[in-house]
Subunit: 93 residues, 2 copies
């Protein structure tokens, strides 16, 4: 039996991830055991893929990706709607 | 007047960002001018903050953060709902 809540923060090391690490540390209580994982480590990025992590930072609580971190990849349909992949009229020919 | 669609990909350099860069490059057309920006550069992270970037990778099209990349920070209320910050019963005392 574990007596701690295991909180893993997947980080790519930039300022955005660092701010989240601080934020979660400030929220944590005595039951929260926080580990910061570096996405530049192959074993970490492999595990991130398995967990469905598509953007960073990502928080995993007791082995489960937090709801606010799911389905966070780039949405190709949104990019297409913004024009990506459609030649601009005046550069067509 | 610009004849190109300016697409900026903010990257923290890990595999998740790299996959997105590939994905956007595959979508791009002759009107798309893609730049990859490294979040580890202070000028880039400063600009990311101004643009409202809260997770990586992030795609900015003609100076505007793509809709699929907005409001993507960690949601403190979701983490609290998952237990973060609440001592586990058996470790209260």
């Amino acid at each position: 039996m574990t007596s701690k809540r295991k909180i893993e923060i997947f980080s790519a090391g930039c300022i955005v991830c660092q701010e989240t690490i601080e934020q979660v540390r400030n929220m944590a209580c005595s039951s929260c055991e926080i580990t910061v994982l570096d996405m530049h480590e192959p074993s970490v990025s492999k595990r991130a893929k398995k967990l469905g992590i598509q953007s960073l930072p990502a928080v995993v609580i007791d082995g489960r990706l937090a709801d606010c971190c799911t389905n966070r990849g780039i949405d190709e349909s949104v990019l297409r709607a913004a024009g990506v992949g459609s030649p601009l009229a005046h550069s067509k020919f």
